[in-house]
């Protein structure tokens, strides 16, 4: 019989695996996520804060940021309302073709964004299926802010729906039935009972949609025309400045967008618990 050698696992009650595995996780994330992000900040501020500020406040840069926020905002408003409505219909009523509709709503996430933009062009463009009929009447949707909103709506279509629908599905029917027997109309029930239970889902669905829309590139570049100061969103601005060799200009906006998504996902992470507090 040999004496049992103390294993690595427990050194005097200290679990070695814990710090090791945490360390490994962070180490793996370094080259994949953390270092790329860090380099944006390192590079962006390496020439001094004045240059950074100048790049950030350039008229086209400010315009691109504002346009991104505005188009994303309206796409979010639409998709949250639509997602709410679609989730209500699809979880409350059972009908022929219901599953087909659910799949169709979810489809835009799986379609490459360039394809989405291309599809929109083929429909609304000057020579598109519908655009051909509308253009002679002075209606040109493509290469405007409207086109960007449309593209944003398309690519973020299922996000809010996807967050809201499961909450609808798991919501006890008896809550709405109770409200009805108490004397509430459908609208009162929706407003006082259903909607409050969806608060968390609506906020996270909206944030997800917004974050995704702000970062949208593939479809936007096709439908917007990429006109600086007119239809150039923040991601397009980064791409354009990078191509022109103005790395600092691109980098300033990159920092803003990175910080912005960090903020949104922090809110998402902490707000869900906060919003769902009973």
């Amino acid at each position: 019989m040999s004496t049992v050698a103390p294993t690595m696992r427990h050194v005097r009650g200290f679990d070695v695996v814990r710090p090791l595995s945490i360390g490994m996780l962070v180490f793996m994330m370094l080259p994949l996520v953390l270092l790329p992000l860090a380099s944006i900040f390192i590079f962006g501020t390496s020439n001094g804060l004045d240059k950074f500020w100048a790049a950030l406040t350039a008229p086209d840069a400010v315009f691109a940021l504002k346009l991104s926020m505005a188009t994303s905002f309206w796409a979010t408003v639409f998709n949250v309302i639509f997602g709410l409505f679609a989730a209500y219909v699809l979880s409350r009523y059972n009908f022929l073709g219901r599953n087909a509709l659910i799949v169709t709503i979810s489809l835009p996430t799986a379609i490459p964004t360039a394809v989405a933009g291309f599809a929109l062009l083929l429909l609304w463009g000057p020579y598109g299926t519908l655009g051909r009929l509308l253009t002679p009447h002075g209606f040109q949707l493509m290469f405007t802010a409207g086109a960007i909103i449309l593209a944003n709506i398309f690519v973020t279509f299922p996000l809010a729906f996807g967050v809201i629908k499961p909450v609808f599905d798991t919501m006890s029917r008896s809550l709405e039935e109770a409200s009805a027997t108490i004397g509430a109309t459908r609208w009162q029930t929706f407003w006082h009972v259903t909607l409050p239970s969806l608060r968390g889902a609506i906020v996270s669905g909206a944030l997800l949609t917004f974050a995704r829309a702000v970062g949208e590139f593939g479809s936007t570049i096709l439908v917007s025309g990429n006109l600086a100061g007119r239809t150039q969103t923040a991601p397009l601005y980064i791409f354009a400045k990078f191509n022109e060799g103005q790395i600092e200009a691109a980098n300033a906006i990159a920092i803003v967008l990175a910080l912005f998504s960090f903020l949104i996902f922090s809110v998402l992470f902490f707000a869900r618990d906060w919003l769902d507090v009973d």
Binding site: S174, G183, H192
Partner: protein, 387 residues
């Protein structure tokens, strides 16, 4: 329906000839009952008997295929749930999770656009009625099951419901809390005097809660009566066996007695209902069985047959005996006469034996052991037409 007599309380709710089908399966068949003002009616049935559907039809959450629902003389069959003014206490209480206790209770008045002062006053009254004043600012998830249930009741009382409907209200609770809560609710209902319909599959609950009990089986009502009536004078075999253990003896009516395989019961039956030669069933409860070592019987006992003790078990409050009946003379009880057989439907299906229970004092003063020979008599029983 008979016209209410002068001293009977007025009818609050009637269900008239309700039938309901889901697709091709019939769920309810011609359901009829009344609930009087201030009365508690319990719908007792196994799961799948259709009792919940009855409740949902009264509430307006389900439409019957045939029949009518009347609330205080008003036909509400066509009205949507929100216009009926009934109070439903759901099994999961269905309290609004994002509203405080007082908001939940005031909900019915808020959606009716009552004045804030009036809502406040009503909520205060109801909070003190259900003794939840100190919990008014809490959310449902912060309350115990019993407290949530009281909020649910108060929430319906706020708008003076025509009738209260309780859907298995104690189903989600443990046995001790259950017993405690149903006494509490019974007392509360006596105070507010609102007619109520309870749904349960628990016979003990039904007997304790109900002024009357309706036993539902496979979508039809087997019997409606006071707890005493349905327990002691069951109208059907189903009612007899659903409400606890029952011994069932099959037999035949003779001129002035009832004959079963191993026994003759000297009883006069109602000549209107039973004629000589009719097949019948004699139903009696384990506690209606009296055993003695001697042939001497009390005058109001009906002698059944001698028997051997086959099993003695002590079940806490009483002693439970399984007795195997033996033919009185031997040859009278020939094997060929299958027409008269003896069965115990519950709790175990063992022919030729009956179950008897004895209270503790009797069990200890006259101890019985396996194999002892005793004389079995029954103190009360019900005779049913055998189908």
């Amino acid at each position: 329906m008979s016209a209410p007599s002068d001293n009977a309380p007025p009818i609050a709710t009637s269900v008239i000839g309700i039938s309901k089908r889901f697709g091709k399966t019939g769920v309810l068949e011609n359901i009829n009952f009344d609930v009087a003002e201030g009365e508690v009616l319990v719908l007792l049935g196994a799961s799948g008997s259709g009792k919940t559907t009855i409740l949902r039809i009264i509430a307006g959450l389900e439409q019957p295929n045939r029949g009518r629902v009347m609330l205080h003389g008003r036909d509400v069959t066509e009205l949507p749930a929100r216009e009926r003014g009934v109070g439903v206490i759901f099994q999961d209480y269905a309290l609004f999770p994002k509203m405080t206790v007082e908001k939940n209770i005031g909900y019915g008045l808020r959606i009716r656009h009552r004045r804030r002062k009036e809502i406040r006053k009503t909520v205060d009254e109801l909070l003190s009625l259900v003794q939840l004043q100190e919990h008014r600012k809490k959310y449902p998830s912060q309350l115990s099951g019993g407290q949530q249930q009281r909020v649910a009741i108060a929430r319906t009382l706020a708008y003076n419901p025509e009738v209260l409907l309780f859907d298995e209200p104690f189903g989600a609770l443990d046995t001790q809390t259950r017993t405690h809560l149903r006494r509490e609710i019974r007392a509360l209902l006596r105070r507010v005097n609102v007619p109520s319909i309870f749904i349960t599959h628990d016979q003990e609950e039904a007997l304790e809660l109900g002024d009357r009990v309706a036993v539902i089986n496979k979508g039809h009502i087997e019997q409606v009566g006071t707890p005493y009536e349905i327990y002691n004078r069951p109208a059907t075999e189903y009612v007899a066996t659903f409400l606890g253990a029952a011994n069932i003896l099959e037999g035949v009516v003779r001129e002035d007695l009832v004959e079963t395989e191993c026994a003759k019961l000297q009883v006069q039956l109602d000549r209107e209902r039973f004629r000589p030669g009719d097949r019948i069933k004699i139903v009696f409860r384990p506690e209606d069985v009296s055993v003695s070592r001697t042939e001497f019987l009390k005058t109001d006992h009906f002698k059944l047959a001698p028997a051997h003790v086959e099993e003695v078990s002590f079940v806490g409050a009483y002693e439970r005996l399984r007795l195997r009946l033996e033919p009185p003379g031997g040859e009278e009880c020939s094997e060929g006469e299958t027409a008269y057989y003896l069965t115990t439907e519950t709790p175990e299906n063992r022919p030729h034996t009956i179950i008897a229970t004895r209270p503790k004092p009797e069990a200890s003063s006259a101890q019985l052991h396996i194999g002892d020979r005793v004389i079995v008599a029954i103190t009360s029983f019900t005779v049913l037409q055998s189908s």
